[in-house]
Symmetry: C2
Subunit: 591 residues, 2 copies
């Protein structure tokens, strides 16, 4: 009964193009295929993935010798600025702000001049089978824009400015001083069941009442807001945009409102808050892509206190890297430490915030291209994907040491924070799906109770296909949800696979497909279904039905017990919803 | 009776010019004044310095608007290479390898083009009262060389290449593998009383038998060899040159010989070895000026194991610095840590070498322009000069915290490793002299026994004048020696002041002048007397009489009890001797 779980290389790479498009802020123009509402399908999977693309799936193949080699084309200031913006939005994610290459190839002028204008133009237009998106034929960039970009690449890169304490303080703004803030919760919201929903393309978060499903308020944040995080107490919500703007929201106000803001660079992804007992709400930390640095801030005001550069040596080759970007950050529950993951150098930093004037940092050699990850169910072990290396690095945050680096079992793991379930046979396992194929990997996380299975991929499930971004479960749930929003097949991208945890000891565990996109009742668009998030009680799971900026989107709430549609949240203000962060689950690392 | 202890600003700055000349490898052309041999003078000093120049004495004053502003002059590859060499040898020490400024002003092309060729040429020729040496009128650079340098400065700086693991391993050479080395000491030397003498301008160290005063062997090292350090056991001697070459010498061989070598960058100053119990001889560490980084190596082979970049934020302004150079490094006796001092960012790093795969580094905010320093007599506290800030930073290496940063009491402290004496009134104190004036500062170091005096300048002595590089004493000595090799007065630069420790409780402690230069019997040259070093037993002290490369130099040995000349060591191979490192005292931090 297996279907659609063998994804061809080309379609998978189209999925990666979408991943880039997602980063770049565009949904592309894939048309949706309609299926009948309520059509729940059963599928069987085989354990173990059939398809294994090359390890460097995100890297472009060697470029061939080009045709013409003109000189360096002159660009007007306006053209350069336009090209810079496009580069920043579309290209920098893979090729690096300095064009020195990252998951994509280097684009320094010594290389681009060899390639020449026409080659660059065609490459940008048609993409490559090794992962370069087809910006022209997808319709994302116009012919004129592509020609501009080809010319731009023949010019020296504009190094973005440094962004130190002076610059940060200039952007720092306390809207409501601490002594002017409420001393008790002024609204009557059940704060622990609030969902902070990323409205990606409007640069806002919507706070939604998880009990009533009503929008409490919508708050302006940074451009292309990325994630929300909660302070340990649950009072303060932090949102960070890709433009490195951090907004601090006080949930005690009526309605909850922004009380402070800051920019920590020109590009960023991650924010976290101190969670250790005795340090609740004291500090926040932001991690920047550019400049490559992190900053420790006051948890109540965002006042920047300590900036630390991440420029340094790659963990294995020990060569200097000028742009080691800060990927995910989590807060340890065992020590007063932030766990900071550095992408290009492959180092995991344990940043001790107990004395920031005498800052103690443990630098753990892990693996390159560290991206996102989460804790195991005990909160002691942190598992993080080295995505372009198809590996998972595991850190013991209690002992402050690397446990190991293992193969993820699939192509380009993308766990988000992952999901923790208790496997009927292998005990506590942490789960990741993959961007590059249909593999869902289960990794044993219980060295005490299940020693033989700890830190091994104990089981591989086959989901609907590649293009998965997030898996999700909850301690009270019997289900494991796997989304596939970046799969090029519209039916797959608009639905979710659900595995019964109790069935996982079977040889070929089946999954159920929930046609969330259909359930939303939205007619137009690709209706990408992304990122399941449980409510506080763990009895319902929310999915975003994410359409283009000009199209209708929605949130679909599913009953976890019955897997039936519970409700659809629609509002014209809900534009491009993606990530959702339940206050209780986020602040307690329940996932 | 006070004489010559008030140094005028201009002469002091001439002294600084000599300091730069010293860094650059030249002695200038100051003529020596002859005095009668054996002429021992008595001088009185007043406590407290009379002269206090501005804090930023090492910085040039604001440059004025220049005359001509030509375009960028073209240089041939050969000219550029010559200019690069001169810049590296003469200018980089103050202006930075990247010309972004350090203790000297920035010389980036946006600034130099404003100034123009003629201004630059004249500035290089005549120097400035704010510390720029007069390279032309001193005769150090020819007119043609100065014109070349002015043109060179109008061109973009050549950024020297990175030097990572690949490059280091290419220079790494084990001459005698560990299993081919002696298993016992093959020579009959009293190793603990060997002196390793830096022969600066030949790029060699002379190993001299401290008992017989005979040269044991002369070993080729890096260019402009800087210092020697000993492994904890005393078997291995490490020498580092300004060209970042480290040579490892096995003192058990007969004669002692080089067993391994490596280059850790293109410019460096510091090397140290692991001293903690259980880690003896296990690791070495080298600190580089360029690239800004340090490297932990195997202590027996110099195999590079871990390279760490120091590029990062200045401790107070928290702005990114591209070239934070590694100044002095010492090894803690209380923890498995190296204490690494970063000049431009003003940070002191405690680098825990117990687990270099999970490297733990504590970054202590201290003060900019950290340079050299040493331990107090207990070995617990490390005191390091922030030279251009006229401050001393103090670190508790047992607790891993900053004790404080205090004013040094004079202009441009230059302690070397400093000197520890037991003051009759204030108990254990650590001593530093100053490059910029005659002040010799005594800082209390005994928070248990002399709490009120700890970490304060408890007394200021006035020495012969500015231009002092090193002070010296020994636990068994009753004397404190203060050199003044960079004083522009030839009589002062060729003699040494000696304070009786027992007399320090007097209001105006006298000092005795030892005319070491005269005692050497050398007729020609400036006979700069530099760096007293005690023998193992602490009953005699050695001074270098340091002349030009083409002139005769010598070592003069003084009886510590009588302050009489004991012997003069002369040998045509002893060319430009400067630092001397007694094996026992160096490995045990006795100073």
């Amino acid at each position: 009964m297996k279907s659609r779980n063998i994804l061809k290389h080309t379609t998978m790479l189209a999925g990666l193009a979408f991943a880039t498009a997602l980063v770049g802020g565009s949904l592309g123009n894939v048309s949706a295929q309609q299926t009948a509402p309520g059509d729940v399908k059963k599928h069987e999977t085989t354990p173990g993935g059939q398809y294994q693309p090359s390890l460097d799936v995100l890297k472009e193949q060697e470029m061939e010798q080009p045709g013409a080699k003109p000189g360096i084309p002159a660009l007007t200031a306006e053209e350069f600025s336009t090209a810079n913006k496009i580069y920043f939005e579309r290209c920098a994610g893979c090729h690096g702000v300095l064009r020195k290459g990252a998951t994509g190839k280097a684009l320094t002028t010594d290389l681009t001049k060899e390639l020449g204008f026409e080659y660059l133009r065609d490459f940008i237009t048609y993409g490559s089978p090794a992962g370069m998106p087809n910006w022209g034929t997808s319709g994302d960039l116009s012919e004129a824009e592509i020609e501009l970009m080809a010319n731009y690449l023949l010019n020296e890169p504009a190094q973005p400015p440094e962004f130190g304490m002076k610059e940060m303080r200039e952007t720092w703004n306390v809207i409501v001083p601490v002594d002017k803030r409420p001393t008790r919760q002024l609204n009557s919201l059940n704060l622990d069941n609030i969902f902070s929903v990323t409205l990606r393309d409007t640069g806002e978060v919507a706070l939604i009442n998880g009990d009533t499903k009503e929008i409490v308020t919508i708050i302006k944040t940074g451009y292309a807001v990325h994630i929300s995080r909660l302070s340990a107490s649950g009072r303060y919500l932090f949102a960070i945009g890709r433009d490195a703007k951090i907004d601090l929201i006080d949930l005690w106000m009526d309605p909850p409102a922004k009380v402070a803001e800051i920019k920590i660079g020109s590009e960023a992804r991650s924010v976290e808050t101190s969670k250790m007992e005795g340090w609740e709400d004291k500090y926040a930390i932001g991690g920047a892509y550019w400049p490559p640095q992190y900053v420790i801030m006051d948890g109540e005001t965002l006042e920047p206190q300590k900036i630390v550069s991440t420029r340094g040596m790659v963990y294995d080759t020990q060569e200097f890297h000028p742009e080691p970007r800060v990927a995910s950050i989590v807060a340890s529950h065992y020590r007063p430490e932030f766990v900071v993951n550095i992408k290009e150098t492959g180092q995991i930093l344990l940043v001790d915030y107990s004395d920031i004037k005498n800052l103690k940092v443990t630098t753990i050699e892990a693996e390159r291209f560290l991206h996102d990850g989460g804790f195991d169910s005990s909160g002691r072990y942190f598992l993080v994907a080295a995505n372009a290396r198809n590996r998972i690095a595991i850190v013991d945050t209690k002992e402050g040491k690397l446990v190991g680096v293992i193969e993820s079992g699939g192509a380009t793991p993308h766990p988000g924070r992952g999901a923790n379930i208790v496997h009927p046979k292998f005990g506590p396992v942490w789960v990741t799906s993959h961007l590059g194929d249909e593999t869902v990997s289960l990794i044993g996380t219980d060295p005490e109770g299940h020693r033989d299975h700890a830190w091994k991929v104990v089981q591989k499930l086959s989901g609907q296909g590649g293009g998965s971004l997030f898996v999700k479960s909850h301690p009270k749930s019997g289900n494991l949800y796997v989304d596939t929003p970046l799969n090029p097949d519209a039916e797959i991208s608009s639905s979710v696979a659900v595995f019964k945890i109790g069935d996982l000891e079977k040889d070929n565990p089946e999954y159920t497909v929930l046609p969330i996109g259909e359930w939303s009742g939205i007619a137009e668009g690709v209706k990408r279904v992304v990122q399941g998030e449980f409510n506080k009680d763990g009895d319902e799971i929310w999915f975003s039905v994410w359409n283009g900026k000009e199209q209708e989107s929605a949130l679909v709430v599913v009953d976890d017990k019955t897997l039936k549609l519970k409700t659809v949240i629609k509002d014209k203000r809900l534009i491009t919803p993606t990530g959702k962060f339940n206050v209780y689950n986020t602040r307690n690392d329940v996932y």
